[in-house]
């Protein structure tokens, strides 16, 4: 992803495609979208990935989290014909050196989140997945995922704290 962002490396983009395109297609088809329409969405998402690569910051998110946000936006555009209000982009700091410790910490944190999700009972995990696939309202998330959200909450909190400190540094 960094090669795509910093060097506009098309070969690196091709590897990103090999990794994400089939997963994106699988993800989009989970809510009943046809294969043909799913491919259109995947194509749009991959093109956005290339065009908005400068917005990606590995200090704050893994590529998968960033891609998730892009694909949900695209799915909402297609379904509702309206744009979801999006937060302000953070100011970029072109001179900032990459901080390997922070990048590794984000990776580890995500790994721990994945492990916490894997430990859920299948029916709990299914509810969580439905929430993030966009199949539950906030009221349903509140009533149906109470327990699993509690289980992963401490993980989210840790990730949150780390991100928060990083973001404070960024804004100073």
């Amino acid at each position: 992803m960094i090669a795509v962002r910093d060097h506009r490396d098309k070969a690196a983009f091709a590897s990103l495609f090999d990794h994400f395109a089939p997963r994106l297609k699988g993800f989009v088809m989970r809510n009943g979208t046809s294969a043909a329409q799913a491919e259109e969405i995947v194509q749009d998402v991959m093109l956005t990935l290339w065009r908005k690569a400068h917005m990606f910051d590995p200090h704050r998110a893994q590529v998968s989290a960033w891609v998730y946000q892009i694909v949900r936006n695209r799915q909402i555009d297609v379904a509702r014909k309206e744009n979801r209000p999006m937060p302000e982009a953070l100011k970029e700091e072109p001179e900032a050196e990459p901080d390997a410790t922070q990048i590794v910490a984000i990776e580890q944190e995500t790994g721990q989140l994945r492990a916490a999700l894997a430990k859920l009972r299948p029916e709990q995990r299914e509810v969580i997945e439905k929430a993030y696939l966009g199949e539950l309202t906030h009221q349903e998330i509140s009533t149906q995922t109470g327990l699993p959200l509690g289980t992963i909450k401490s993980r989210i909190r840790l990730g949150l704290q780390r991100l928060r400190h990083e973001l404070k540094d960024l804004s100073e």
Binding site: K25, M29, Y68, I76, E88, T110, Y132
Partner: protein, 211 residues
Amino acid sequence: MPAITHHIPEPMMAAYAAGTLPNAFSLVVATQVSMSSEARAALQAHEAVGGIVLEDSGAVAVSDNMKSDLLSMLDDPVPTEPVYTRSGVYPAPVMEALKGREPRWKTLGMGVKQDILSEDEYGSVRLLYIPPEQAVPDHGHNGLEMTLVLQGSFSDETGRFGVGDVEVADETLEHTPIAGAGEPCICLAATDARLKFNAFVPRLLQPLFRI
């Protein structure tokens, strides 16, 4: 969900990340995330979970020619989109909802003013302007109300809310918010139903003010 919070409750943040929150509330979330690194971190944690669900979704092979088609499109001209930036106390998502213009205040009486940004069957979102130390009419809610402070502050029966704080109130709360001293209080307020005013604005006038 608790009746009152100063931050966005987790289920609402998760629903925003998943794109299932109604647009009126989504605007409040996007605006608070623009103002608060804590809210941004919370959102990113939810997006991380979404990313894991995406990674762990079964892969489905894509058409043979998709990759080459896409690679041939990389150098195509990029369509330009309008970019909105923060203006004064209004973060970029509010400026986008205002389509880049200044708020057009309509008076509600007693110096209280509003500008309705959008309204549909799922809810409405508006800017509210309350002069210092002025009370907003005592009101209850048919549904959920989210109020984010952009300037100044307000207090009600549940506490004080300053810049960046959000009050999430459900139908169990009847409150009388009062703006703090000093600057006028400017809020971004979203509801999924009409407010129920007890006095101040007679119920008959509600359709007129659309509140």
